[in-house]
Amino acid sequence: MMSYLWLLIAFLTSALVRIVVKLGSNYEIFPFIAFSYSFGSLFALVTRRKIKERIGKVTLKNSLKFGFLIGIINFIAFYSQLLALSIGKASIIFPIISLAIYLAVILSILIYKEPLTLKKVVGIIFSLIAIILLS
């Protein structure tokens, strides 16, 4: 049940992030990213301290390693998108990039053998059509 609550939070905050980014895109992009991510990491640090959950050395090392890797890849993705948008057609770029999640979905199904039902497959296909139409 808690997992679905987190999913709902991720859904709503993801939408709000898009709205704020749309507003922020009217200003200088790198200062916006630099300040946003600094405030974000401070927020995560403050909430982490309040939880006071103890973790082992392996978890600590793994968490920092994944965070760093995700950060570098995120920056490459974001910068490539910015460069592509500065010289290419947004009407083609956005729909292609919005489908990137399906790469993660395919990799997760193949590597982690995630269970698939017919209902789920149809739901995923409908979500793909929806995302193309909404992008």
């Binding site: 939408a15 946003s36 990491s41 995560a44 490539s80 083609i92 790469l103 997760s108």
Partner: protein
């Protein structure tokens, strides 16, 4: 570099980023620490570029206010993704989160007064159908 090559580079990088959320969750990483490390990495690279380019900032107050809101929301959305990916499959989590586009479109219509296109209406219908089919799945 050709813009289509850059687009596919962004496509693969964003896809890999999402997959790494899944890997980090499977490896039982701490969502808060992953988020701190992730956001600090991007902030450091961005500040480094700012130092090199030496950009001047206009409207600092508004930029800080929007950055503050964006930072907290982005931090929350990252931690929430990592937490739900521990129990739920990526094939459920990512499509549902991506369909939050529907909220942005409703906001654009209600707040910005933008009009809904035929494609948008069809997209909303498919979103609702997809959520109906995916609800209850793991």
């Amino acid at each position: 570099m050709d813009w289509l090559v850059l687009t596919f580079l962004a496509f693969f990088a964003f896809g890999l980023q999402d997959f790494l959320y899944k890997v980090a969750s499977v490896k039982k990483s701490d969502p808060s620490l992953v988020t701190i490390s992730f956001l600090l990495t991007v902030a450091s690279v961005s500040f480094f570029i700012l130092l090199i380019e030496g950009l001047s900032i206009k409207n600092l107050e508004i930029l800080l206010l929007l950055s503050f809101a964006n930072g907290i929301l982005f931090s929350l959305t990252t931690m929430a993704r990592l937490k739900c990916l521990r129990k739920l499959s990526a094939s459920l989590v990512f499509p549902i989160i991506r369909m939050s586009l529907i909220v942005v479109i409703i906001w654009a219509v209600l707040v910005l007064g933008e009009s809904l296109s035929f494609e948008n209406i069809l997209g909303i219908i498919f979103t609702l159908l997809a959520i109906f089919l995916l609800k209850g799945e793991k």
